[in-house]
Amino acid sequence: MGIRKYNFNFFKILKITVAVSIILVLLGIFGIFMMFNGKGVGIDFSGGNAITVKFTKHIGISEIRQIASKSGINFDIVHLPHENKAIFKTKLVEINNNKVSDILDEILLKELTKDGYVMEGIVEIGPRVSSNLKKDATIAFILSAIGIILYLAWRFEKKFGIAAAIATYHDVIAIVGIMYFMGYEMDLLILTALLTIAGYSLTDTVVVFDRIRENLRKKVSTNLKEVINISINETLNRTIITSVTTLFSSLALLIFGGEVLRSFAIVITLGVIIGTYSSIFIASPLLFAMKVDPKKLKK
């Protein structure tokens, strides 16, 4: 197996891919805009409570809802029937100086008795913590963009850095949009996954760019478009294989990793696909669009 040479013309379907990317990015920008206005963000960024309760006996979602409604708090409930658990989420931190977890505990104690449930986990985030986090997250994304551009500008050339950064942020923004429309709330875990994917997508882009640089030096062709196309084809095997092995990991996480890591695994899975796509269809054509000059390449 193994020795084959691809010869796809990736520029041929550029119009379609550019259209797809623009739509994805617009959806993402919409999602980010909504998040900055407080929609679609988890308690890490909005403040609030997420309380995980394990029931000793099987208990239906309607009954859980009924019990929760007695607290007077409008909980958003995630039911995990296989594990006999429920996660109670609310953007409230406290009511009249009573902690939300205490209020829920009191109701559950009354309805289910002491042996009927265990409060397995509480995540309570105050408003100051969440607003600080929002600021930190924004700074982190800006800093990483600057870091990437500077490094690649130093190693390659300015335009390579910019193209790689655009491709990477294309992925991050597109995934944010998809997650938003899938109904996932942005939290620290998703943010971590996004930065991880930024790293992955970047690796992918760097591998292709490296080949483009090499082929520009070797003067494989005088036509920039052709050089780029040849480079993508030459690295295609590696691109596919690494995507496959990384997908093995992210799918294992998605299927066996449990509820806590689900959103993380989805972001990684989406990221592997979109990251691979963007190295080929966004980053490389951008080099062509920006007309990189082979003479400016560093050694």
Partner: protein, 532 residues
């Protein structure tokens, strides 16, 4: 010429080192006399895996500064009274002190006492002057405020550490974060709610004289003198055990505070079988207690904790010995915790829980189990794929991957870094992403081979050409990983640590490990065919 060189031995050395470091993690119940040969502790698990609480407390530094200013007003009042200088009032207002006096001609003398004898670095600003009186405002240097706030946070930290130590938690982590936050991490704690209450209690103990001359009518009209305040009092009906709230009027100025306390213990009241807290003052406290009770025989004294009176008995006689009790409808745990906070001292300012992450032990176990299953499945999938696709080269890649994982865990254990759930997710991802460097090299070797190079040349130039690609891609990933350190919370930091160590190790194993295996094959085995 080349044989098994230093790189090979280095890999083997690290391999045995890693196994040695990881034995305490994977083998439980090592006999004690054997255990001492393993100097490294097991891998430290984050709170999200072993259970526990992570609490972020915010110290109300504004209140601490107010309290400091309140102390200064007493100093001013005392100094002025001593000199026979009269004032209308001295009070704290909007982070400053306001003094008003009808004796305008005496102000210069007053100001001299305040600015020369009492405090330095204070601005005196005239606020108001009319025919009846003159009013000045004192503003202290911003540095003083900063100092007071800093020392309040430091003192709060010490007090909380004291309380936690007395509560009995193994390996608590307590440190400040930012200007006015305190992080408390308590792994494996059984009663999280109780611990959080224990930390957050201000535990300000005060003894104040009850003003029985203030009638309920005056209270309802809000017609009370400046030196008097209204506070709630809890009274318990002994028969029903019900708690009722009353309002009582007391002097603002306390007779005595908990600062002079030496000890506090839980005792059981034999008559009602009720726990209560017994307190003992130090020598100075006992003297003050004896004096103030002697001066106020026949009056009532309220025992106040955090602004709530627990009882206000009539002082029947001068009380020597410096002992007092707090009774309430406590259960034993409540009384025990109260004794702890009284012993450990009060917080200099109220603290507020602004973040609380509590993870029960079962939730953590569950996460570890699922993480392990995912790791194994991901590993098997990658192993089978690599072995089928790259044949013998694939086996090399997998061996390198195993080295990666072993080294990673060993470094995490040796550095006492914390393994968190996202950290485990990072390890699982590393299984998939970690083979990438080898894939890059293999694909390069195949290409070189295809253009007609010999096996040896193909391998040599394959490595050479892939080298910078691998370095560049690792460093760019490192940049994003480093930025994750920004996020203070435990789990994400744990992920950043795992990812960063993973990247560094990957770079090492590929550039040193894979390379030396191929060098060995070329030079010693003189391979002429590629199984790739």
């Amino acid at each position: 010429m080349k044989r098994l060189d230093w790189r090979f031995y280095l890999i083997i050395l690290f391999l045995f080192g890693s196994i040695y470091v990881l034995i305490p993690t994977f083998v439980r119940d090592i006999p004690k006399n054997v255990r001492k040969f393993f100097i490294v502790e097991p891998v430290k698990l984050g709170l999200d895996l072993q259970g526990g609480i992570h609490v972020l407390l915010e110290v109300d530094t504004k209140k601490a500064y107010e309290a400091d200013l309140l102390g200064k007003t007493s100093q001013i009042k005392e100094a002025l009274s001593k000199k026979g200088l009269l004032y209308e009032y001295v009070k704290v207002e909007n982070e400053g002190i306001v003094i008003s006096t009808p004796f305008k001609d005496k102000w210069d003398e007053m100001e001299k006492i305040i600015t020369k004898e009492l405090f330095s670095k204070v601005d005196v600003i005239k606020v108001k002057e009319d025919s009846a009186s003159i009013t000045y405002r004192l503003e202290f240097d911003a540095k003083i405020k900063e100092q007071v706030e800093q020392s309040a946070v430091k003192q709060a930290l010490e007090t909380i550490r004291n309380r936690i130590d007395q509560f009995g938690v193994t390996e608590p982590i307590i440190h400040t974060q930012g200007k006015d936050n305190i992080v408390v991490e308590l792994p494996g704690i059984k009663e999280p709610k109780r611990a959080i209450e224990l930390m957050g209690k201000t535990a300000m103990l005060e003894f104040k004289l009850v003003r029985e001359d203030i009638t309920p009518e005056m209270i309802s009209k809000g017609n009370i003198p400046l030196e008097v305040e209204l506070i709630p009092e809890r009274r318990i009906n002994r028969e029903t055990g019900e708690i009722q709230q009353y309002t009582i009027a007391v002097n603002r100025e306390p007779l005595l505070t908990g600062k002079l306390l030496q000890d506090a213990q839980v005792r059981i009241n034999n008559q009602f079988n009720q726990p209560y807290v017994w307190m003992k003052f130090n020598a100075e406290g006992a003297r003050v207690f004896e004096r103030v009770t002697g001066e106020n025989v026949g009056k009532r004294m309220a025992i106040i904790l955090d602004g709530v009176s627990y009882s206000s008995p009539v002082i029947r006689d001068r009380i020597g010995g410096g002992e007092a009790v707090i009774e309430g409808n406590f259960d034993f745990k409540e009384a025990a915790d109260l004794a702890i906070v009284l012993r450990a001292g009060s917080l200099p300012a109220p603290v507020k829980v602004i973040q609380n992450i509590t993870v029960g032990p079962t939730l953590g176990m569950d996460s570890i189990k699922k993480g392990l299953v995912s790791t194994i499945i991901a590993f098997i999938a990658v192993l089978v794929f690599m072995a089928v696709y790259y044949k013998k080269a694939g086996i090399i890649a997998i061996s390198v991957l195993i080295l990666n994982l072993l080294y990673l865990l060993a470094v995490v254990a040796a550095m006492r870094a914390t393994l968190t759930l996202p950290g485990i997710a990072g390890i699982i991802l590393m299984i998939g992403m970690g083979v990438d460097s080898n894939v890059l090299i293999f694909e390069r070797i195949k290409e070189e081979f295809r253009i007609g190079k010999t096996v040896r040349n193909a391998i040599e130039s394959g490595f050479k050409n892939a080298f910078w690609t691998i370095v560049d891609s690792h460093i760019t990933t490192l940049i994003t990983a480093a930025i994750l350190f920004q996020f203070g919370t435990g789990p994400i930091k744990g992920f950043a640590v795992t990812l960063t160590i993973g990247i560094a190790i990957n770079l090492f194993t590929v550039l040193i490990g894979t390379k030396s295996v191929y060098d060995y094959l070329i030079w010693n085995k003189k391979i002429t065919k590629l199984s790739i």
